[in-house]
Each structure stands twice: as structure tokens, then as C-alpha cells.
């Protein structure tokens, strides 16, 4: 993993100031660590060897107290801004990732890495918090305190500095070496560990099903066996994973011990004075402390860095260039698809689709499930670019048009209607009279009759509080009132009974009577019968559900 990804600074403004602050505090900390060691050595050395008393030592101890105060302050300031920077950076990245993913469109979101973006945006990026709060400051200290202290030790006593300099490079070398040696085994262990863990959860999640079949008693023993296997797999991994930590601790503690012994032996021979000895003894562990902390925080931070890396991948996925021309008026313009195909792993779905949507007509797309009817709608709406073929409005390629000017003329009712929070009246729009007329047609008046406050009833996000069928009626009513020239309906009768189906048929007829164009996906023959044109969508993919 890269300790500090430059892309982080490029994409997150909050991170820049924080890294600068952390660097400044790191330099200050280095100075304070050195000052504390030297002052302590002077005070203690004088007291031990010369029997100096408080009156002599008072100034030194005063300065020492000042250093302690500054270090306290530096630590507090670091912590104070670390949390803030972490939250802000996570927020900045989240907003960018979500905005970019939305711009990439629904097809990208539904395929490949799309679904993982949801986890990344809602939870994954939070792993950056330990990275910012714990790891980054230690990383900076490793770059400031470690070299500064080493230089001071070199100035004081070159032999101790030599011991430390010999050990210091061994730390990363051994960590990498142990890492290399154990990588294969620990990855294998990790995989089986996760698999066993998932199996236990799977049994718990399936408990209602096991009970329905009266078979819930046996797997209790299996939960224990799986748990034991999981523990053994985990311990196997940990035995290796902890090795690098042990090597690190051994090297650093042992080298400090060697420094102490070397100082002691030279003190006996009078080749070194006590003040220098104490200063070096206090400073020696400080050389390694930041490195050890970096090691301790590494795993927590690695998750955050990995999450950020995935965020950058999303952000670096190019969005197709948007068109700039204003769309023709869809009340008079014709939407055409010529030989349109979208390639998938199994073949093209749809395959070679020709479609002409003339103003004021009802056009139905039919075909078995999985041939790409919804995909065809997304292509017609400009949410997805076809791999082959061309989409145009009155001869102008859809890719050259500013999609916002197309969408302003379209109402789209997807399979699952999307409703923002608000009152029924706000959701549906229109004035009282037109609302009432439309509601009578779509059967929304029946739904309203059951609501406590009628039109003023507030609904939660996604229409919470209504059933799927009721939500569909709200969406249909809104579509009626929106007065956009083109209405796109994706399987409007799915999940509906006969009465619900009739409502949809009436609505489609009312839309046509109002001179509006309707493009719909129809599964049921009744809906197909309403259409002026019926287009069979084909796929050349082999396996169909």
C-alpha cells in the first residue's frame, strides 16, 4: 500500500490542510522530543553525578515543564483536527463517488463494480478514519522524529548511533521478508477463515427456513464445529501474521538494550559522560517508536487506503462526453433506434433493435424476460450508449444532445416507482382540480380515502407507508399530471391484479387521448393490445431464464 496517496490530496481538500498541519506538528514534536531528552539528561546527570540540588536545577526543570506542556498541547491539537479532517475527507470522497457513479449511469451501477459502490459510499470509506486519526500522524513522526533523533544521537555518541543505524533498515527489511514468506499462507488462511465465518452466519440466517422444515436441531452441533474450524484457521493465520510484529519488537527492544549496555561499559571506562549517556538512553527508544506505531496501525489503515483506492478507481472511470445541442421538441419529433445492440457476456441483449417512436402513438416493447427490454428503454432515454447502432431524435444523434433537455420532456415510470419524501399533493403535483380528476382515473382516490390526511399525508423516502401497488398509483397519477410529451413505462402491470391492470390500461389510453407519446414494456397481452405499434425485442444470447 502507498503510505500517502497523492490522489487523496488531489481529490479531498480537507486532507490537504490536515497533512500540512500534521507535518508542522510532526516537526514540532521532533524538536520537543529532543529537547525533553536533553533537558532531562542535564537535570538528572547533574543530580546524580554532582549532587546538584533543586535551586541549581530549577531553570532546567522549568524548561522541562514547558516542554511537557507544549507536547501535551501538540497531542491535543493533533487529535482535535484529526477527527475533523477524517470526517470531512470521507464526506468529500463520498459525495464525489456518488455524484460520479450517478453520472456513469444505471447500467454501470448495476454491473461489475457498481454494487460495491453502495457499500463503499455508505460504510467502506469510513475506514479512512483510523488512517487519518492514527496512522498518518505516526507516519509523519516516522519521517520527522526518527531522523531528527538519530542525528542528535549521532552528534552525542557515534557508537550508539551506529547500532541504531544498523538496526533501523533491518526493521522494514524484516517486515517485508516475513510478509513475503507468509503472504501465501496467510491469504489462504484468510480465505478459509472468511468462508467458515460466512457459513456460520448462513446457518443463522437460514434458521427460519430450517424450522419450517423441522430441521433446526441438527445444525447446532454444526455451528460449534464450524466455529472450532474457524478458530483453528484463524489461529493458523495469526501465528504467522503476528510474527512480523514479534520480529519488529525484538529488533527494536534488543537494539535499545545493546545501546544501554554499550553506554554502560564506556561509562565505566570513563570514555563517556553521564549526561550524554542518559540523553542517548532516553532518545534511543524514540527512534523506533513511530515505526512501531506505524506497524501497529498498519492493518486498520490499510482498509482505509484500500477504500480510498477503490474510490479513486471510480472517480477515474471516464464518463462519456455529454452532448451540447438542445433536443428537438418531442411533441413533433420522432425518436428512432436503428440496429441497436448492447453486448453482454452471453451475446447481445437487445440485438439489432429497430424502433420508431412517432409523436402521439403508443409503442409497446415485448419479448421474453432477459432479452433487454429495460435496457432498450435506458438506451432510448440516453442513460446508456449502445455498443452498436444509433439512437436519434429527428435525425440528430442522441449522443450529441444535452440529455437534460431530453429528460425535461420525459416522464419515466420504472418497474419500482421512485418517490421522494413529501406530502401526497407535493409528490403528485398539479392543482386541486386536475389532481382529483387524475386520481379518479388511476385509482389513487381509493388509496387517499384510506389515508388519515388525504392529500396532505406525508410520505417517507421511497414512498414508505404505501404498498408497491399504491406507490405505482401515485407514480401513475404524477405521470398524468406532468404533461411531458413522452411517457416511458416499464412493465407497469407487473405485480398488479386485474383491477390494477385496468387502471394502467385506462391511464395509457388517457395519455394517448391527451396527445402524448407512450413507450412501454409490456409483459401481459392486455397491455400489448392497447399499443399502436408493437416491437418484439430479441437477443442473441443463449441462456435465458
Amino acid at each position: 500500500m502507498r503510505p500517502l496517496d497523492p490522489r487523496l490530496l488531489r481529490h479531498a481538500r480537507a486532507a490537504r490542510g490536515y497533512v500540512a498541519l500534521t507535518a508542522a506538528l510532526g516537526v514540532l514534536t521532533a524538536a520537543m522530543v529532543v529537547a525533553q531528552a536533553l533537558l532531562l539528561a542535564h537535570a538528572l546527570g547533574a543530580a546524580v553525578s554532582d549532587g546538584a540540588q533543586l535551586d541549581v536545577l530549577a531553570p532546567t526543570i522549568g524548561w522541562l515543564a514547558a516542554v511537557v506542556a507544549v507536547r501535551t498541547l501538540v497531542t491535543a491539537v493533533q487529535e482535535r483536527f484529526a477527527h475533523r479532517a477524517a470526517t470531512r475527507t470521507v464526506a468529500e470522497l463520498r459525495e464525489q463517488v456518488v455524484a460520479h457513479a450517478v453520472a456513469l449511469g444505471p447500467r454501470w451501477l448495476a454491473s461489475g463494480e457498481g454494487p460495491s459502490v453502495v457499500t463503499l459510499a455508505t460504510r467502506g470509506l469510513d475506514a479512512l478514519e483510523p488512517y487519518f486519526v492514527r496512522y498518518l500522524p505516526q507516519l509523519v513522526l516516522a519521517a520527522t522524529v526518527t531522523p531528527a533523533v538519530l542525528l542528535v544521537v549521532l552528534g552525542l555518541d557515534w557508537i550508539s548511533a551506529a547500532i541504531l543505524v544498523v538496526v533501523l533498515p533491518l526493521v522494514p527489511i524484516f517486515m517485508v521478508l516475513v510478509g513475503r514468506l507468509t503472504q501465501g499462507r496467510s491469504e489462504q488462511g484468510l480465505a478459509s477463515m472468511q468462508r467458515l465465518g460466512a457459513q456460520v452466519l448462513d446457518l443463522l440466517a437460514g434458521l427460519p427456513t430450517l424450522r419450517a422444515h423441522g430441521r433446526e436441531r441438527g445444525p447446532g452441533a454444526r455451528v460449534r464445529t464450524l466455529g472450532d474450524a474457524h478458530r483453528q484457521a484463524t489461529m493458523g493465520t495469526l501465528r504467522i501474521a503476528f510474527l512480523s510484529g514479534m520480529v519488529l519488537e525484538l529488533l527494536t527492544t534488543l537494539s535499545v538494550a545493546l545501546v544501554a549496555v554499550a553506554i554502560g561499559l564506556r561509562l565505566v571506562e570513563g570514555r563517556l559522560d553521564l549526561v550524554t549517556g542518559i540523553a542517548v538512553l532516553v532518545l534511543a527508544p524514540e527512534v523506533f517508536l513511530p515505526l512501531r506505531q506505524v506497524g501497529v496501525q498498519f492493518h486498520a489503515a490499510a482498509d482505509g487506503v484500500a477504500a480510498a483506492g477503490r474510490a479513486f478507481e471510480v472517480l477515474e472511470t471516464p464518463v462519456p462526453a455529454a452532448g451540447t445541442r438542445t433536443a428537438p421538441d418531442l411533441r413533433t419529433a420522432t425518436l428512432r433506434l436503428d440496429g441497436v445492440a448492447v453486448r453482454t457476456s452471453g451475446g447481445s441483449t437487445p440485438h439489432g433493435l429497430d424502433l420508431m417512436v412517432r409523436p402521439g402513438t403508443v409503442v409497446a416493447l415485448t419479448g421474453p424476460s432477459g432479452v433487454g427490454k429495460t435496457t432498450a428503454l435506458e438506451i432510448a432515454l440516453g442513460l446508456l450508449r449502445p455498443d452498436d447502432g444509433r439512437v436519434s431524435i429527428d435525425g440528430v444523434d442522441l449522443a450529441d444532445l444535452d440529455t437534460a433537455t431530453v429528460w425535461a420532456q420525459v416522464s419515466w415510470l420504472p418497474q419500482r416507482p421512485v418517490l421522494e419524501p413529501g406530502t401526497m399533493a407535493e409528490l403528485v403535483g398539479g392543482d386541486d382540480e386536475s389532481r382529483t380528476t387524475a386520481a379518479a382515473l388511476t385509482g389513487l382516490d381509493d388509496v387517499l380515502a384510506t389515508l388519515p390526511d388525504g392529500w396532505a399525508t406525508p410520505l417517507g423516502r421511497g414512498g414508505a407507508g404505501l404498498s408497491l401497488g399504491q406507490r405505482q398509483r401515485v407514480a401513475l397519477t404524477r405521470t398524468l399530471l406532468q404533461r411531458t410529451p413522452l411517457v416511458v413505462l416499464d412493465e407497469p402491470t407487473a405485480h398488479l391484479d386485474a383491477a390494477g391492470e385496468q387502471v394502467v390500461l385506462d391511464t395509457v389510453r388517457a395519455l394517448r387521448d391527451a396527445g402524448r407519446t407512450v413507450l412501454l414494456v409490456a409483459h401481459r397481452p392486455s397491455l400489448v393490445a392497447v399499443a399502436d405499434d408493437v416491437v418484439l425485442v430479441r437477443s442473441d444470447a443463449q441462456v435465458l431464464a
Binding site: 533543586l54 459525495e95 408497491l468
Partner: protein, 572 residues
């Protein structure tokens, strides 16, 4: 949540006291090596500066090296032992949880499944277990090490020892308490904005297309930005206390060192303390705070674990199934009289249901979507308590029978049943353990999955993903129907088997089910054509049975039914 929550949960981990004590000992010795290293090196240097014969220093030089090695090795062993203890505890808790839930009332489980709580419980058990390694053990080590160091320092010079004790309390008790409170403040304040943020982000990503076309995407992005701003404000509210906690930790190290100097120097002058001992008293505290530095994080962990323990215990305390009082074997017929079906605590979705289901008899239930047909099936299978009315198997009240006797007689295949993350064959064997591969292939062909099976890389041994994310909706549904079919139970209740299928295949599957030699209840939302095969059709509406009879009778007497059927026929 009470204070005893975590204690109860930790007791359920059933930690092995000897192993835990060993971990504690190893941890204390490991950090003790670090403190001893500091103390002995201080003594070594101070004594050496007095230029004694080298031999006098030899013990110290060896000890310093030994402590240097001991620390790393002991720490390694401690981490292994403590993780082992924690993992054993988690297995114990998971097993207990599974067994208690297996004995809980069925509706408790169904509720959990609906609320997605079961998916969270795994993470919660882990969080409870984490308290061992990240909470209890660091705290125990800090206490043991702190007490040991303070006592040792007191042996040299009591005032310095006491000052060290005070500072350790500051760093190990006060600072962690503040840190934990800061974390709690942040978490509580952030709760609502975090939920808003998640909902907005999810909405944007799930419905990107409709939001873009509807021109609402930018407004939703603004809403996301706004909830993130509130989240940041909540974090800022706790950051001040977190800063104070961190500062206190740093301050106490410095104060301990200053106190040792200020009290030790006059003591040397007064002859109460030797100069060499002064060096030890002043330099040792620097190492003693390593144990306390972990405690703020430990306090936060304890808090997290306590919250998780609360959720786990709520599951463990779920009411258990009352023991059976009637040991009759469950067998047909299943007779419901004036049954009211509904979730406990909510108004019934269906009242006055009477049904007689015996071997060879098939019943179809038809009605608009959202009229509680699944709830009805669960009630008929005895998995949900009925609100009123009677339900008997061969004349015996279902409530008094053993759960397994009921399950042996009636099996329900609901649409939200779990598909286990194992092979296709094992998933079918959930219903009947001794199912052979040939039987499995036959039943999959029967539900129209023969082609699907051929396309699978390993046939019946293909692993389907956890909860079948790798199969399509239609395939999943039919796999569940196949599982219901292989069950040895004489009575089957099947929920919407034909959803996601084209008309011909849907009709064939429903007809086949209705012709099954067992007693069968099939729920259907649309497609009335295959119902000629049913002995009786129940038409639901407005919370009751609107009409019942054979398909032909309903066509004759119920205009709605005839219209719907005619529409269906006309469009075929």
C-alpha cells in the same frame, strides 16, 4: 441497556479462566520486560558512571539483553493465547445463540429475518468477542503492570511512586473515560445524520436513472452534502473531548517524570535516596505508560461491545416455544375453522378462514397483491400464532403439538425462504436429508429447472451464493418450490410458485403442483387458467374469503373472476 449487559454477555462467552489468566500473565510480563528494561538500563548507566569494577555490572548487562528479547517473545505468545480465548468465546456464544433461537417462538425468527437482524448478529457476536482482546485484557494488563511499577517505585522512594500512581490513574482511568464519552457523544449525535446519509446515498445509487431523468439527481446530491455536513458537525462535537483525553495521556507521562525529579532530588540531598536510585526513579515512569496508552481505545471498545451485547442478549431473551402438551404424531387432515391470520400485535389481514386440507386435495388461494396471503400460509403452517379460530391436525390442536410433529405434517415454501450458501443438492436436502442425486435431478426438471441444471458448471454440486445472489429471481423461486416438493410432509403450502415465469410455463407449473398426490395449497396472484386443476379455489378480498368453489363454479357465479379470466384468455 443496563450496566450488567456486558457482564452477562461476557459470561456467555464462557471464557476459560486458566487461558485468560495465562494471557493476562504473558501480557503483563511482556510489558513488565519493557519497564524492567528501562529501570535496569537506568541503574546500569547511573552505576557505571560511578566507575565500579566491571564485574558488578555484569548481571545488569545480561538482564538488559534478556528483557530486550523477553518483551517481543512474550508479547507474541500473549497475542496468540488471547486471540484463542476470544475465538473460543465467540464460538460458544454463537452456538448458544443458535440453540436458543432454534428453540424460540417461530414468529420471533420470522420477525428477525424480516428486519435483517440475523445478518447483523454475526458482526455483533464478533464485537462482543473483541472485548476480550481489545478491552478486558489491556485493562487487566494495565492494572497489574501499573500496580507492580508503583509498588516497585515506592520501594525506592514512596513520594515518586505515589505521584506515578496518580499519573497512571489520570492516563489509565480519567483519559479513557473522557475518550469513551466523546465517542458516545459523537455516535449519538451522528445517528440521525448517518441514517439520512445512508438512505440518501442508497437512493441515489439505486435509482440513479429515474432521478436523472426526473431532474432530481442534483437535489438529492445536495441532500447528501447536507447530511454529511451534519455528520461532520456531530464529529466536531466529540472531537474536543477526544483531544482532551489524548492530551491528558501525554501530560501524565511528563508530570510523573517531573514529580520524580522534584521529589527525588531533595531526597538525594537529604540522604534518603542514593543517586543511582534517583536515575531509576526518574527514568522508569517513561516506560510505565505504555500499558495505559492503549486504554482510551479499550474504553471505546468496551462501549461498542456493550451495545452489541445488548442486541445479542435481546435475541437470547426471545420467548421460547412452549413445550408440547400433546404427543400425537402430526398427520392430515389440517382443518382450520374461522381462522384470523395476522402478525402478532397488528390487525388481522384475513378473518373467517375455514379450510379442510387432506391427502389428495388441492386448494388454490387467489387475491389481489398485498392481501396477506403469505401471512395466511405461515399461520396455516403453525409458524405464526393464529389470532382467533382453531387449527387442528387430525383433530389435535396445532398449538399443543410438538413443533417437529407439525413440521413433519405441513411444510410451507415461502418466497423469502433462505437459500443456503452451499450446493444445489444440499439446499434441497434441507427438506429431506436422504435425497439422492437422481431424485434431485427429477424434481428440478419438474419445476422447469432442467436446462438451468445442465448449464451449471458442477451440476448438483454447484455452490449457489449466500442467499442465492448468483441465481435469478425466477430460478431462486423455483429452487424453493423444488425444495418444498422433496419434503416428505403429506401437506404442502406453496407461495406464488410461478412469479417471474412466462404464461405457458407458469400454468404448467401450477397445474403440476395442484395435481400432486399430496394435499396442496397454492397461492396465486394472477393467471387463473391453471386453477381448473384445483379441487377448490378461494378468492380473497377485503380481508376475508369473498367467494369459494371450483374454478367452474367461480366462473359461473363471480363476475370479477370471470372478467379477469376472460382478459387473461383474450390476451393469450
Amino acid at each position: 441497556m443496563t450496566r450488567g449487559t456486558l457482564r452477562r454477555a461476557v459470561r456467555l462467552l464462557d471464557l476459560d479462566p486458566r487461558r485468560f489468566a495465562l494471557a493476562l500473565l504473558l501480557g503483563t510480563l511482556a510489558l513488565g520486560c519493557a519497564v524492567a528494561l528501562a529501570a535496569v538500563s537506568a541503574w546500569l548507566i547511573a552505576r557505571a558512571s560511578q566507575m565500579p569494577p566491571v564485574l558488578q555490572l555484569s548481571v545488569a548487562t545480561v538482564a538488559v539483553r534478556a528483557f530486550g528479547i523477553g518483551r517481543g517473545v512474550l508479547r507474541y505468545l500473549e497475542r496468540l493465547v488471547s486471540h484463542d480465548v476470544a475465538l473460543r468465546g465467540m464460538t460458544e456464544l454463537r452456538t448458544t445463540l443458535y440453540e436458543r433461537l432454534a428453540a424460540a417462538r417461530p414468529e420471533t425468527l420470522l420477525r428477525l429475518r424480516r428486519g435483517d437482524l440475523l445478518a447483523r448478529v454475526g458482526a455483533d457476536v464478533d464485537t462482543v468477542g473483541d472485548v476480550v482482546v481489545r478491552g478486558l485484557l489491556p485493562a487487566g494488563v494495565a492494572v497489574a503492570l501499573g500496580a507492580g511499577t508503583v509498588l516497585a517505585m515506592c520501594a525506592f522512594w514512596p513520594p515518586a511512586g505515589l505521584a506515578l500512581g496518580g499519573c497512571l490513574v489520570l492516563a489509565g482511568v480519567v483519559a479513557p473515560a473522557i475518550a469513551a464519552r466523546a465517542a458516545r457523544t459523537t455516535e449519538q449525535r451522528a445517528l440521525q445524520s448517518r441514517a439520512d446519509m445512508t438512505a440518501t446515498a442508497l437512493g441515489l445509487l439505486d435509482d440513479a436513472g429515474p432521478l436523472l431523468v426526473g431532474g432530481r439527481a442534483s437535489a438529492e446530491l445536495d441532500a447528501l452534502r447536507d447530511s454529511d455536513r451534519r455528520l461532520a458537525a456531530a464529529t466536531d462535537a466529540g472531537a474536543g473531548s477526544a483531544a482532551i483525553a489524548a492530551g491528558l495521556g501525554q501530560l501524565s507521562v511528563g508530570v510523573a517524570m517531573l514529580a520524580a525529579l522534584l521529589t527525588g532530588v531533595p531526597a538525594v540531598g537529604a540522604g534518603l535516596l542514593s543517586p543511582v536510585e534517583l536515575a531509576v526513579v526518574v527514568l522508569t515512569p517513561l516506560a510505565a505508560f505504555e500499558a495505559t496508552s492503549l486504554l482510551p481505545a479499550a474504553a471505546i471498545q468496551v462501549q461498542r461491545s456493550r451495545a452489541a451485547a445488548g442486541r445479542v442478549l435481546a435475541l437470547l431473551d426471545a420467548p421460547t416455544d412452549p413445550p408440547a402438551t400433546d404427543d400425537a404424531p402430526g398427520q392430515p387432515p389440517l382443518v382450520a375453522t374461522d381462522l384470523a391470520c395476522g402478525w402478532p400485535g397488528t390487525p388481522p389481514v384475513l378473518t373467517d378462514l375455514s379450510l379442510d386440507l387432506r391427502r389428495g386435495r388441492s386448494v388454490a388461494i387467489v387475491g389481489p397483491s398485498g392481501t396477506g396471503k403469505t401471512t395466511t400460509l405461515l399461520t396455516l403452517a403453525g409458524l405464526l400464532p393464529r389470532q382467533t379460530g382453531t387449527l387442528t391436525l387430525d383433530g389435535h390442536d396445532v398449538d399443543h403439538l410438538d413443533r417437529h410433529a407439525v413440521a413433519a405434517a405441513v411444510v410451507v415454501g415461502t418466497e423469502d425462504a433462505h437459500v443456503f450458501g452451499t450446493t444445489v443438492l444440499e439446499n434441497l436436502r434441507v427438506a429431506r436429508g436422504e435425497l439422492t442425486a437422481t431424485e434431485a435431478t427429477d424434481v428440478l426438471a419438474r419445476v422447469g429447472l432442467a436446462d438451468w441444471l445442465v448449464g451449471l458448471p458442477d451440476g448438483l454440486d454447484t455452490v449457489v451464493g449466500p442467499d442465492a445472489r448468483t441465481v435469478s429471481g425466477g430460478e431462486r423461486r423455483r429452487l424453493l418450490v423444488a425444495r418444498a416438493l422433496v419434503s416428505p410432509a403429506p401437506l404442502l403450502l406453496v407461495d406464488e410458485p410461478a412469479e417471474h415465469l412466462d404464461p405457458e410455463r407458469a400454468d404448467a407449473l401450477v397445474t403440476d403442483l395442484l395435481n400432486d398426490p399430496r394435499g396442496v395449497v397454492v397461492v396465486v396472484t394472477h393467471r387463473l387458467s391453471p386453477l381448473a386443476a384445483a379441487d377448490e379455489v378461494l378468492l380473497l378480498g377485503a380481508g376475508r374469503v369473498r367467494a369459494r368453489g371450483t374454478h367452474a363454479e367461480l366462473l359461473r357465479t363471480v363476475p370479477d373472476y370471470r372478467d379477469a379470466w376472460a382478459r387473461e384468455r383474450g390476451s393469450d
